[in-house]
């Protein structure tokens, strides 16, 4: 197992290099230049020249690439062209929301999708199955931004004034008191890893509120997360439900299920212990793959719900041709995906001893 993990980690290096090359190349292939994006339409050619000089954008692309990779190797993701701030600071501010959103959505999609799939397979071809599959088909074909706007309209305006009202945007209510941990712990001047991780913790509003014992703020953050999480999870729920249903129906035809039933085992035991356990490998694969989908879905959801995550920052940075931020975000997201895929692979071995032996 250790050998397998090491092998995967070595492969990770090549994945990162690939991502670096592609991101770096694509970012520069987009028409337009950072100068007019940043200095505005009225920027003179002289100003643009000085601007490019300052950010090293006048150098040839290979020179810029070598400089960039060298800096990355030192843990320096560079400075944002738009904000004149370290990219690592920006990532520390933005990553927690995206992770909170993706994890919440993953839970929603995995639990609802699997339950829906199991119920559908057990009630195969019955009314429940038909309704669930209609929902799955509608869900998979619905654009996230549209669904997001609908949800926001429904829960913020139509149900406004009722106990079902939910906030249509932002992470926290205006005036909610959740101090930044850097300030709270008097670490404003901290640098390096301690600053990065404290910022990460501070911007994980759920963790931050829990650590400070501010449970009213914690609940407020949860309420703000509900609509975006549901919006981003809907497509995944549908996919996981269909996959679970298919895998379960497949397993139900196996001899060992027939044997289990013949032995007189209760239907719940047959479904959950014998069928579901064996159907889990393809389900886990889909859930793992969906994590990537949820991450990319978060880009749209964050924009729709005005959330300060990696997605909104990525869009902003692409529009501003803020290359260092685009590259930094893509690399972090790629690493996250690779890490989740590794976890999925490892879970196969746990779920199916035959894979472990191989």
């Amino acid at each position: 197992m250790a050998q397998y993990i090491v092998k995967r980690l070595i492969l990770l290096v090549f994945v990162v290099i690939g991502v670096l090359v592609v991101t770096f190349g694509l970012a520069r292939a987009i028409p337009g230049d950072p100068c007019t994006s940043m200095l505005g339409e009225k920027a003179t050619p002289e100003k643009c020249e000085a601007f490019k000089q300052r950010f090293g954008l006048n150098d040839s692309t290979p020179v810029q690439f070598v400089r960039y990779v060298t800096n990355i190797a030192r843990g320096d993701f560079g400075q944002s062209i738009r904000d004149s701030r370290d990219v690592t600071d920006i990532i520390a501010e933005r990553l927690p929301l995206t992770i909170e959103l993706t994890i919440t959505a993953s839970f929603i999609s995995a639990i609802s999708g699997v339950l829906l799939g199991i119920v559908s397979s057990v009630r195969h071809n019955g009314p429940v199955d038909v309704v669930a599959m209609i929902f799955a088909n509608v869900g998979v074909s619905m654009p996230i931004f549209w669904l997001g706007l609908l949800l926001a309209y429904l829960f913020a305006i139509t149900l406004g004034g009722t106990s079902f009202q939910l906030p249509p945007s932002a992470r926290i209510s205006p005036g909610a008191d959740l101090p930044n941990l850097l300030k709270l712990w008097h670490m404003e001047d901290a640098t390096g890893a301690s600053r990065f991780f404290t910022e990460l913790l501070s911007n994980s509003y759920l963790l931050n509120a829990a650590m400070q014992g501010k449970w009213d703020v914690f609940w407020d953050v949860i309420k703000h997360l509900i609509l975006p999480s549901v919006a981003v999870a809907t497509v995944s729920v549908s996919i996981i439900a269909r996959m679970t249903r298919g895998a379960m129906l497949d397993v139900f035809t196996q001899d060992y299920i027939r044997v289990a039933r013949a032995k007189g085992l209760g239907e719940r035991l047959v479904v959950m212990k014998h069928a579901f356990r064996n159907a889990l490998v393809p389900i886990v694969t889909v859930v793992g793959l969906q994590f990537g989908g949820l991450l990319s879905g978060a880009v749209l959801t964050e924009t729709t719900f005005s959330l300060a995550g990696m997605g909104t920052k990525l869009v902003e940075s692409i529009e501003a041709r803020d290359y260092p931020v685009v590259q930094g975000i893509v690399i972090v997201v790629s690493l996250l995906l690779v890490f989740v895929n590794l976890l999925v692979d490892l879970s196969y071995a746990y779920l199916n001893p035959r894979i472990r032996v191989q």
Binding site: P45, K47, A156, P167, N180, S306
Partner: protein, 589 residues
């Protein structure tokens, strides 16, 4: 530049400021108020730029009651001056005449100076706080110290800026306990925020939502005065526009009213001249643009031996602006209108940056472009388009340039207006561009919000608005870049800065009429080369310090003098200062 400035540090500042500023300061007690251009009297109408209704001195604190020099012996005014006006940009000197008087002397006349200092890039910072932050935007962002109606509580990056009411504000009671500025790029999302009651006001309203908002009793639309222009530019160095008759013929074909009626939100105007009609001086009510006359146009084209077989390229960019809400559709409309007399237009949509660069270099034949005002003075429109260095329309017209020079170097309203009347006649004659439309935009507020207004050029005054809750929530289009607005140039940043920092002059809410802010009055000399501002007394900064003229001097000098230790900011560009007043002092060449 940034790292080098770090090397200077406070020691360098002490040395530089003591050697340069203090040495330049008057050795004798500050000059008596009478030495400055009549601060005690209201500026004579002929002395001040005519459009500016000089602030009513009866409303301003009595300048005559201002402490006489003998009452403030401790005050030592700072001054920064250049020995000679050569390669220095517009500024000649900035001087704290006394504790409450600042004088700007210029190397060249600038009648728009009072308008320029309304810009949020020229907010007044506190000198001790500048020393504390070293003029570094990163440190200013943490605790910006201004005089404005709100002070910093917390900037939740990516999410919101939270401000508390400044109870010591000179402008009276703040209507709110706090202000929360949020942002979203999506107009539809902002509208949901407003309708759900989560926000009290929103900046971005899609023009297609105007009608729906007007019908919704829970929210209201507040139009923003149209201070922009959409024009069709014709390059006189490219065929067929190297012939004036062709340019005039095109002006007679394009039906501007149809374009405004079909593609602009209600309230937008057909442009009668290049500047909006509220620009006084600048707008010429007696100069009417060409009426649509296809017959006359055809005759002119025939006279010019126009080649109908050749396509004329019309380049534009698919970027929505208030002055051009539907770029592609307007371009197609022009194409269709020109076809009516047999002229073939080839549409060439281009990437925004490439297009702007190409157009400003004079490489495009016919362009669909626009302009939004930075400050409400005619110079901001005419000089940037038909001035001597502009290449967009080919070779500049000498007679237009000559008239602009008169308008630029005079503070007399009548003389300026006469020059701009002539300019407009010449623009009509030469047709370097065809003015098409002034597009209207709007902001929206909750129906119950009192004092709601939408300022066309400067940030709204949220301290004068009141929503349903303690904190006023406003949703704008994007996150501010920093809170050191001296070194920023985008509206979203200015909207936040404008609540914390104040400028010498401002505008009356919702208008472009000059109003006192940190200065209670101003006066200019007849040739517009000296501008003196009388400051409001007893204004407190958020850190408790009292504002004086030296704060104003340093706030400008840190931008002007590239060697000043606080000339640091966010990127060190200080773009607006550079745009408005030319080169920096001690700039590295």
């Amino acid at each position: 530049m940034t790292s080098k400035n770090r090397l200077f540090g406070p020691v360098a500042f002490a040395a530089v400021s003591s050697m340069v500023l203090a040495a330049c300061a008057p050795a004798a007690p500050p000059p008596a108020p009478t030495a400055a251009p009549a601060p005690t009297a209201a500026p004579a109408p002929t002395a001040a730029p005519a459009p500016t209704k000089a602030p009513d001195p009866t409303k301003a604190p009595e300048p005559t009651k201002a402490p006489a020099p003998t009452q403030a012996p401790a005050f030592k005014g700072d001054k920064m001056a250049v020995p000679a006006c050569k390669d220095t940009g517009e500024m000649k000197s900035i001087e704290a005449v006394d504790a409450l008087t600042v004088k700007f002397s210029l190397c060249q006349p600038d009648p728009s100076f009072p308008y320029k200092v309304t810009g949020n890039s020229f907010g007044i910072l506190q000198k001790d706080d500048l020393a504390k932050t070293g003029g570094d935007a990163k440190k200013i962002n943490e605790n910006p110290v201004g005089t404005g109606p709100f002070k910093m509580k917390e900037w939740k990056r990516g999410d919101s800026i939270n401000l508390d009411a400044n109870t010591a504000w000179w402008g009276g009671a703040n209507q709110n306990k706090g202000l929360v500025i949020r942002w979203t790029k999506e107009a539809s999302q902002a509208l949901i925020e407003l309708r759900s009651g989560n926000a009290d006001g929103i900046e971005k309203v899609a023009s297609e939502d105007f009608d729906a908002i007007k019908k919704d009793s829970k929210i209201k639309l507040v139009p923003v005065e149209a201070l922009n222009i959409l024009y069709v530019g014709l390059n006189n160095t490219k065929a067929p526009f190297d012939n004036e008759k062709v340019r005039q013929a095109f002006a007679m074909v394009i039906d501007r009213k149809k374009i405004v009626d079909d593609y602009y939100p209600a309230g937008s105007q057909v442009a009668q001249s290049f500047v909006p009609d509220s620009f006084k001086p600048g707008f010429s009510p007696n100069v009417k643009w060409y009426d649509v006359d296809l017959k006359a146009a055809k005759a002119l084209l025939d006279e010019a031996k126009f080649d109908y077989t050749k396509e004329v390229p019309l380049s534009y960019r698919e970027v929505v602006r208030v002055y051009l809400p539907s770029p592609g559709k307007v371009a197609q409309e022009i194409q269709a209108q020109m076809k009516a007399i047999g002229v073939k237009i080839k549409l060439e949509p281009k990437e925004s940056g490439t297009f702007l660069k190409s157009a400003s270099s004079g490489n495009e034949t016919m362009v669909l472009l626009g302009w939004g005002a930075d400050y409400p003075d005619a110079t901001n429109f005419y000089d940037t388009h038909v001035g001597p260095t502009v290449k967009t329309f080919g070779k500049p017209f000498d007679d237009i340039v000559a008239q602009l020079k008169i308008g630029d170097t005079n503070s007399d309203f009548a003389k300026r207006q006469a020059a701009y009347d002539k300019t407009n006649e010449l623009i009509k004659q030469h047709v370097p561009l065809i003015p098409v439309a002034h597009g209207v935009s709007a902001q929206a507020f909750g129906a119950g919000v009192t004092g709601a207004h939408a300022n066309p050029l400067t940030p709204n005054e949220y301290s004068k608005m009141k929503g349903a809750k303690d904190n006023f929530v406003y949703v704008q289009s994007g996150e501010p870049i920093s809170l050191d607005c001296a070194d920023e140039s985008d509206g979203e940043t200015f909207n936040a800065c404008g609540q914390i920092f104040e400028t010498l002059m401002g505008f009356k809410p919702g208008t472009i009429e000059l109003a006192p802010a940190l200065a209670t009055e101003y006066a200019g000399n007849p040739d517009a080369t000296e501008w003196t501002f009388k400051l409001r007394p007893n204004v407190k900064f958020h850190n408790g310090a009292t504002m004086d003229a030296n704060d104003v001097v340093l706030s400008f000098v840190r931008q002007w003098d590239a060697a000043n230790p606080y000339h640091k900011g966010d990127t060190g560009d200080f773009q607006y200062f550079n745009d408005y007043f030319g080169d920096f002092l001690n700039a590295k060449k």
